[in-house]
């Protein structure tokens, strides 16, 4: 065994590395060697601490000291003072921004941990294929509590008090939804879990089902008890084979234990769950389309009302909740409405899971209390923008959402604020864009997705979206005119106002939001015929730099259309009239002489 009695954990995340944390590691090692302590203290580089704003971070174990903004020249002090003399280096300790006092150890740094896991509480912690591990973490205690202590009405009122809102996108209060379904009398009612996660870039529902399937089953049984249903279905995409497999295992285990089936925990309450597979159509995440798909009909939405709570699956009252919403339910029942409503903002309670993707260092799932700012999410938890580039926008809400820009960085994220800023919560996909991303192309990408996924039932969504996409295509290829920008806006508004379902009504959002926030960029595309981010190929030209070109003729030989001319050992030039912008010359050039601008 080693003799190390102390460890220095130095952050090796991208943010800290760019502030010389790797040099710091070397210096620390050197100082330790000088003191003859290399066998006693070990220096280790770790992943991101999620506190990049105050990097580089050094954490010393076992005394839990947390140093921030440590420079390589501080190594000597840390070793001499902290290690040799056993005194903390006060000037490097984190200062509490409110009290302006130094914080001694991480236990007193509540603010440091920005993430709070409720929906993801068991993900990555327990074995999803063992019901016993879930039970050991208070699993099925919530349904036990509800069945023995609370009436359905009391449970619904608890859910209403908690302030939990649907995590699938629209944010409808869950307790209210349950109440509607309860108040509709019928001989048969259904509980449906919407696991048709379709937003590009969102994968939290899959992670929950793969990592903690029992919490969803338990929550569905609780819903069933509240609304008076004895049967539930999980509508899940067939593209999630592992989630399906684990759900099947979980359902069987719960049945064997009698936690699903007849007379659950001797209460006389019956509830069982089945699976229904979706074929991956985006519109089937809309609850009426989802129900039609479950019935074996075409996955097309119908006008609401009637809401599923009145007439849903096979015409019976049906309650549809999203996976993440359900994953919150057992904790709320056990810990109470007051606890849950103490987290978050005035109208948005609890936490939200976001799937961070795009040009961000720490791609992954995060769960933060509602009201956390975009800056905290991107620059602290997310570790900042890749390769030290400049933040441009964050796209939230997938194809139904919009962009948040630099001016929104300090806005607390909740349902209301996102909508007020032209975006939406959606299911929680968050795609981070940097200076190299062209906003017109991004809008075109999302609209392309909606055009493909439109079910075709209503005219605005089917036809007008297509026209909108053609307009964007024209702008990206340099054939756009200034009037097109007004057309985009007008058509977008029409689609918003006249589409049948949520998919259509929200489909122009990416266009309207980028048009609103990045009008200049659209303007340069149509007026200057330039793409400022350098993405739209048709608006770019290939050039050969005089200072780098050695006249090797490699580019001219690679050009399939003979657009490059030039004598051997002399400067070559590209004829833009012939050039087809294939990029072959750029690939072949060994001297970085070919550029695109």
């Amino acid at each position: 065994m080693s003799n190390y009695s102390m460890h220095m954990l130095v952050c090796g995340g991208t943010g800290c590395k760019s502030s010389d944390s790797d040099i710091l590691v070397e210096k620390l090692k050197k100082e330790l060697l000088k003191q003859g302590l290399e066998e006693t203290v070990q220096v280790v580089m770790t992943g991101c601490f999620g506190f990049c704003e105050k990097g580089p971070i050094v954490k010393i174990m076992p005394d839990n000291t947390f140093y921030t903004q440590v420079k390589p020249e501080d190594a000597e002090d840390i070793v001499e003072e902290h290690v040799v003399k056993g005194r903390r280096v006060t000037r490097l300790l984190y200062k509490d921004p409110e009290k302006n006092t130094a914080v001694e150890d991480t236990k007193h740094m509540g603010f440091y941990k920005k993430q709070l896991r409720i929906a993801l509480r068991n993900c990555g912690f327990l074995d999803p294929e063992k019901i016993e591990e879930y039970i050991a973490r208070d699993g099925y205690m919530a349904i036990g509590k509800v069945l023995t202590e609370l009436s359905p009405e009391e449970t619904i009122s608890l859910m209403k008090d908690s302030g939990l809102r649907g995590r699938g996108g629209a944010g409808f209060p869950s307790g209210l939804k349950w109440e509607f379904a309860r108040n509709n009398e019928s001989d048969k009612k259904y509980v449906v879990c919407n696991a048709d996660e379709g937003d590009p870039g969102a994968f939290m529902d899959r992670s929950i089902l793969e990592g903690d399937p029992h919490s969803v089953l338990e929550a569905m049984a609780i819903t069933g008890y509240c609304i008076g249903a004895d049967e539930g279905f999980i509508y899940i995409r067939a593209e999630y084979p592992l989630a399906i497999e684990r759900l099947k295992i979980a359902i069987n285990q719960a049945r064997e234990y009698g936690l699903l089936g007849e007379n659950i925990l001797g209460s006389g309450f019956n509830f069982d769950i089945g699976l229904k597979y979706g074929a991956g159509a985006f519109v089937c995440g809309e609850e009426t389309a989802l129900i039609h798909s479950m019935e074996g009909e075409r996955g097309e939405p119908t006008l609401k009302p009637p809401f599923p709570a009145e007439s849903g699956y096979h015409g019976k009252p049906t309650n549809v909740n999203n996976v993440e919403t359900l994953a919150n339910v057992p904790s709320i029942i056990l810990k109470g409405a007051e606890w849950f409503s103490s987290i978050g903002t005035e109208k948005s309670k609890g936490t939200k899971v976001f799937a961070l993707a795009g040009k961000i260092n720490n791609v992954g799932l995060i769960e933060v209390p509602m009201g956390t700012t975009l800056r905290e999410v991107i620059f602290e938890i997310g570790g900042g923008i890749k390769d030290g580039k400049k933040f441009k926008a964050a796209q939230t809400g997938g194809p139904s959402g919009g962009c948040l820009t630099e001016k929104h960085l300090d806005t607390p994220i909740d349902y209301e604020n996102l909508v007020a800023n032209g975006s939406m919560m959606g299911s929680g996909g968050m795609i981070v864009l940097d200076e190299d991303d062209c906003m017109v192309s991004i809008a075109k990408f999302y609209l392309g997705f909606t055009v493909e996924e439109s079910c075709g039932k209503c005219v605005p969504c089917r036809i007008v979206n297509k026209r909108l996409h053609e307009l964007l295509d024209r702008i990206c290829s340099g054939k756009g005119e200034l009037a097109d920008l007004d057309r985009l806006k007008n058509l977008g508004e029409v689609i918003k106002d006249t589409s049948l379902c949520g998919l259509g009504q929200s489909s122009p959002n990416p266009v309207l939001s980028t048009l609103d926030n990045f009008y200049d960029e659209y303007y340069s595309h149509v007026v200057d015929k330039k793409c400022p981010a350098g993405v739209c190929k048709d608006l770019m030209e290939y050039f050969i730099l005089e200072e780098n070109c050695v006249g090797c003729t490699a580019c001219a030989r690679a050009c399939p259309v003979g657009a490059i001319t030039g004598e051997r050992k002399e400067l070559h030039t590209v004829n833009p009239d012939i050039c087809i912008k294939c990029g072959a010359c750029m690939e072949k050039c060994k001297f970085d002489a070919v550029i695109l601008k």
């Binding site: 190390y4 992943g47 506190f51 954490k59 699993g139 036990g144």
Partner: protein, 136 residues
């Protein structure tokens, strides 16, 4: 397993499970028993978590280290898959990222058998409802 008929039965099973898990931590051979969790969601498996898990099971046995290797769901560190969590007896759990078979070999050799830390630790940067309660 039999059916659970009452809430009291469920509580009994929970308490037994909790003590079973604690036994694993504090039992007789606590000196030797190492617990490893491998994040095995679709994304982890796609980045090679299965190979890592197989390697860990095979190699720990080969070296005579008594260990329990189990699977779990996504730990949410997509940028550092495959991820594993190692709990040495009497120590706090540590999460390692980017654990391919080479890294797994290093972790067994240096951390599990030697007690030395290795690069690639992912600091815990979140609270769970349980950890928050303990602090209160």
């Amino acid at each position: 397993m039999g059916k659970i008929k009452t809430l009291a039965d469920l509580k009994k099973i929970r308490d037994k499970q909790v003590s079973d898990i604690n036994l694993r931590n504090k039992g007789d051979d606590a000196e030797k028993l190492v617990q490893i969790r491998v994040a095995m969601a679709t994304c982890g498996i796609a980045s090679g978590a299965k190979e890592t898990m197989e390697f860990l099971i095979y190699d720990l046995e080969k070296r005579g280290v008594e260990a329990v290797v189990t699977q779990t769901g996504c730990m949410s560190y997509c940028y550092a898959e495959p991820t594993i969590e190692v709990t040495l007896p009497g120590k706090e759990p540590l999460v390692f990222g980017g654990v391919d078979t080479d890294k797994a070999d290093e972790i067994i050799e240096k951390y599990i058998m030697g007690g030395e830390l290795v690069d690639g630790i992912i600091p815990v940067n979140y609270e769970t409802i349980d950890s928050k309660n303990k602090e209160d």
